[in-house]
Subunit: 425 residues, 2 copies
Amino acid sequence: MSDENRRMWSELGLNLRAHDQLLSVLSNAYQDIYLSQQNRPESTSYFDDVMSEIHGQRIQELMREKQQGRKIVGSYCVFVPEEIVQAANATLVGLCSGADFAEEEVEKYLPRNTCSLIKSSLGFKLGRVCPFLEGSDMIVGENTCDGKKKFYETLSDLVPNMYVMDLPQMKSQQGRQMLRSEFYRFLEAMQDLTGFQVDATALRNGIRMVNEKRKAIHRLQSLRTADPAPISGLDALLANQIFLYEDPRRFAREVHKICDELEQRIERGEGVFPANAPRILVSGCPMAVPNWKVPHIVESAGAVIVGEESCVGERGNRNTTEEEGESLEELMEAVVDRYFGIDCAIFTPNPDRTEHILDMAKRYRADGVIHYGLQFCQPYLMESFGVEKSLEDKGIPVLRLETDYSQEDSGQLQTRVEAFLELLK
Amino acid sequence: MSDENRRMWSELGLNLRAHDQLLSVLSNAYQDIYLSQQNRPESTSYFDDVMSEIHGQRIQELMREKQQGRKIVGSYCVFVPEEIVQAANATLVGLCSGADFAEEEVEKYLPRNTCSLIKSSLGFKLGRVCPFLEGSDMIVGENTCDGKKKFYETLSDLVPNMYVMDLPQMKSQQGRQMLRSEFYRFLEAMQDLTGFQVDATALRNGIRMVNEKRKAIHRLQSLRTADPAPISGLDALLANQIFLYEDPRRFAREVHKICDELEQRIERGEGVFPANAPRILVSGCPMAVPNWKVPHIVESAGAVIVGEESCVGERGNRNTTEEEGESLEELMEAVVDRYFGIDCAIFTPNPDRTEHILDMAKRYRADGVIHYGLQFCQPYLMESFGVEKSLEDKGIPVLRLETDYSQEDSGQLQTRVEAFLELLK
């Protein structure tokens, strides 16, 4: 298997030596952070399998799909409508980020003061260590924040297959029209890519498949309202991360198995942490694999994370897409409606997000909220001031963290998190 | 006069003590930077008059306009169409920025890592020291960069009269439609504000008035192609800064007078700097009064700035608006066309800006380009990498500077600028 993987990585043009180093770091981090957890549900062994084969088995599967004529579409954002990708007979995968890579090289292309997520995305490309990216037939960027918008200009000089989706900045009628028009343009682009003509049946099947994996993770999330929480925030985050590139059918099946086990745990009153552990909601910027720094610090300090208000979390996966439309047009409207509801901080104003955070804090019975901001991520950092105020007005304690992918501030973060948890007692 | 001003500032709700301090700092900076210049054209005494009465006579004029029923509209960006404001019987003024103010207070609302321009805009509000802002009947924000977009959310909680204009991010057909639709919405809002119904004649008059002041500054700019340059970059920058809030008719008249003098100077071969002084084009972020730091360093080092590729410069004022349309609709299309041509870095991609910089470098016979980036201004900092590459491909030396409004890095900037100028010899 390993030889087979190496041949594949080599064919994809990866830098094998750098990639070996990356996998080794990843494996060690997983060992230290995930496998050292106590009281994990047995069925989370699924995560261990997925993670051990993150650039192996999953990429082999995608390459087989390609051999059978299916196309692979890579994306950096939850605004890219997976329903349309699936309907056009293609597979959507989230592209690599979450760890610093080729940093010196990256700073030849991007300002030092760029958020880690964007630097990392470019680092994985420049370092040639992301098989998802190298194997993609199309890379879809989207005009969300300034950083990503301008990064895609850089990336488009480095890859032959960049497609950029424009996005609105306001939840106006005009904004919805723009998203609709862009989703139709994307449908055309997908049809051109795959040669497959999408009809109502194809789109409905795409919607159903994506909804199924959403329903699985919704079930997982709802079980975290229990006290004690039956699964760690780290494992739940991993489910949210895997959600973005795993085979959707297998993902739904395996997550339901985990949920079955969690229900039994809840019945037995069994949790991963003691019942009195402080319950934390994490809100803010997305965390891609292997960005587990803050959740690891929080849960190592004895708290349990019960929800993620994040693109890699409920912001990204809440709300299914209505399946009932009969025509392609009706179903497309349903897709537009679903994505137009995403309360990303790129929208101005963005009151829905604050409402959602308040709702989640209540639903998950959170004792406090940690706002996770990536340094230099203007939309989320700027929004965090208003979020903090709204939460404090409701008596919910908030800790605003601003960090990056380095480990340099771990000690300082740990001190601040511990002090915050003391406050919650 | 001073008593009259103080009464007015007090009525506008300014913090008089803080405002006194501000004016004193401003006056000293003007003395040190402007009045110490050698060989200034005599007619630049107009600038001295305007600057000495920046919060005095000009505000008195605006207050008189208000008493006569005219409305004052404040703006932070060259995307706000002055033609429409004028047509609706209102006056557009650029709002205060350009200096750090109330910094501690500002950081209670905005992340530390926000660009100086935005922090300064908020600081002038929180410190209550901007009579333009306090006297405005409407404040128009616009969705340009993430920083400003989210800042307007903060500002809208602090002022009773905020209006936000949405803007496109791509120069697509859809983008133009959005701008058009937003300009019509703005026309409605202006009519609601003033109670004045705009017809073709009114809009044509508005277009003509704005064109006249643009033509005056175009004439000034074209005279700077002469060698030796007949006017300093500092004075030309000031013309560009005053352009944004001075009475448009007086501005045009006085700038033409300056141009008359400059033509005589050119005939006599007379310049502000020796003929062999290195000629520098400055490109990048806008510089609001009193942000004269980098031009002062550049010209104190013996170079002359011959052009500004900036919102406060050619990016903002180049291109007049077509006046020939007969109907309101035709004239509105002309306004949309003119503003849709602005090559701001918020657009993706934005190749026109690079073309414009190359064109300016050639037209003004620049020996080198200094790219001026405000720290944390993602759009311009990210674009600066591509700009640098394009210029270097044409053999034009580039110095990329990243700075803020503080004076802490002045020594370091000076060293870097001097080293760059050595290179040009």
